[in-house]
Symmetry: C2
Subunit: 335 residues, 2 copies
């Protein structure tokens, strides 16, 4: 059964049936607009679009994984502000020959992710696409009582922390580009494929770090790219200790397998969706403890300086970095 056989209303019914009950006070699917109840804290809002052939490929991932990822990468932006996700809207552009089952599985993945993060689907749009599928999610979350944590605000002396591991998503991307598919038989492959195909938004860690950080963002475009954005104002720079970078064995092994430097994966690789936070030294220990309590390791990778630019130290020597490099440029197609 293709979407062209069933029409928009039937499709919306399929989508609607898969969703959790909308909490009291919210208005969900079915009216001209949805409704978010008053919040004393205001609302964080963000939007991320995924396009077939650019951000995802059907031969790389299951529809459920795509649905989960679309939700996670959007919620990651709320986590990066120290906020808690509450709801999403989703616009989907579907080629006429898309199987209804594929759409159903995609929304099933979304529902699973929403349930995990405690958020609900409130509505959106379903339209026809002449070629690729594209999927645009708008996410709504509430900031903490101390307000949203901004990208800018880091001060000289702040310690730079990252959650989880770096470069794993790019290792997964490297495998996929070379024909390895989920689920691979290798545990190490599985681990990095998971990082690329099913990233996790760091909501709990974001709440904890948000209460302590001067500045925070999520690493969607690669570590150096995010650091560049974080340091664009205020006459500050960053010194990174490459030897402290949380690059795990699976990522190192895949980099080695393809003759690449795992550090490049960590510095330039996109889509890790880990958090990057600048935390004053006096609160650094507390940050580590709070994140450990919520089960998310964090690692100090460097320090904010009062000198412009990004310096990366490796075994006591400064190494050259290409500040413009990023594996996920708008200007190039994925290969």
């Amino acid at each position: 059964m293709k979407v062209s056989d069933v029409g928009e209303r039937a499709l919306i019914s399929v989508i609607h049936r898969l969703q959790a009950i909308v909490p009291m006070g919210y208005l969900g699917i079915g009216d001209d607009a949805a409704y978010l109840p008053p919040s004393d804290l205001g609302w964080l809002v963000s939007q991320d679009m995924l396009v077939e052939g650019v951000h995802f490929r059907w031969d790389w991932m299951t529809p459920e994984q795509l649905g989960e990822k679309a939700v996670a990468v959007n919620i990651s932006d709320i986590a990066a502000m120290g906020g808690v996700p509450k709801a999403i809207l989703t616009s989907i552009a579907l080629p006429a020959d898309t199987e209804v089952e594929r759409v159903e599985r995609l929304y099933r993945g979304m529902a699973k992710a929403l349930d995990r993060y405690g958020a609900v689907l409130l509505g959106g749009d379903t339209v026809h696409s002449p070629s690729e599928m594209s999927l645009d999610v708008a996410v709504f979350g509430q900031p903490s009582v101390t307000g949203p944590i901004l990208l800018n605000g880091a001060k000289p002396g702040d310690r730079l922390f990252v959650t989880g591991r770096l470069g794993a998503a790019h290792a997964g991307y490297t495998l996929l580009s070379h024909g390895v598919r989920w689920p691979s038989t290798s545990i190490q492959h599985r681990s990095v494929l998971q990082a690329h195909l099913a990233p996790v938004a760091r909501v709990e860690a974001g709440k904890q770090l948000g209460a302590l950080a001067h500045a925070m963002t999520d690493i969607s475009d690669g570590l150096l790219s995010e650091i560049r954005t974080m340091t664009r104002f205020g006459g500050i720079g960053v010194q990174i200790d490459a030897d402290k970078m949380p690059i795990d064995a699976a990522t190192r092994s895949v980099a080695k397998e393809y003759g690449e430097d795992a550090l490049d994966f960590a510095l330039y690789g996109g889509e890790d969706y880990e958090l990057l936070a600048a935390i004053p030294p006096s609160r650094a220990q507390q940050a580590e403890q709070l994140c450990l309590q919520c089960g998310v390791p964090i690692t100090e990778i460097g320090v904010v300086t009062d000198t412009l630019g990004i310096r990366v130290m490796r075994a006591g020597e400064e190494i050259a970095v290409d500040e413009r490099k990023s594996y996920h440029h708008f200007t190039v197609d994925p290969d």
Copy 2:
């Protein structure tokens, strides 16, 4: 200059420069997420996607018109809830060979429309598209103190009112399908092309009608299609007087020119973006006066009945209607 020559950051700068200053309390472009300040009334949210070749064609309209229309059709959903628009997010998927100038003109049209409606652009996403451009807008508005006006809630005896004129947008669409282009030399052509290419969201009328109506929606999919949705619950139906339908001379003239019945344009034609409201008889006169005061004519076209179904009367006789017909089906490509 193509978008592939400048990259995402430069493009965001172009977009950013065109926008109005974000009001105090809001957080706009540049961080992981935007921020809407607390509102005692909560927030209305809606999302509508426009895809090249499905919802718009570059040989039919200017980039400015597309930007204005993308904003207007989204704000129309806020107006349909009796609300006032405050902000939008916009995701845009751009083919690599898109001229930067075209993107700039599109966002200029958006900025113009936002200014008109008193709303601002707070952020969004810019991504690569392998084929068509698509444009997804999420809109945020505040309901009135009496709360959002829902689609369902009409009661037997309520009068059905519509704002403005009906069928004009489909008359414009008919002209465009037959090769007539904006700006045409004919004043009547211009009038209906305007309805299709540059619809106006009825925000002021929506506020006034919202305070009086039992139910309200905007007419995006055609009058009968919207009435069907409005009457899906509650065991109600509608009787319409086709002779009262606000079909103007320009629409009648275009229908005649192409051997069509102007009433069909009004009943089934999509994209009028006028409001449809069910108002108790005791408030009907007040509704007419309030709308006249804000410069929007409204017309009583029928009555809500306690019999299921939609009856359309013309010159005292009931005429056959195809309740499933709509000129804007998901299942078909526009011709």
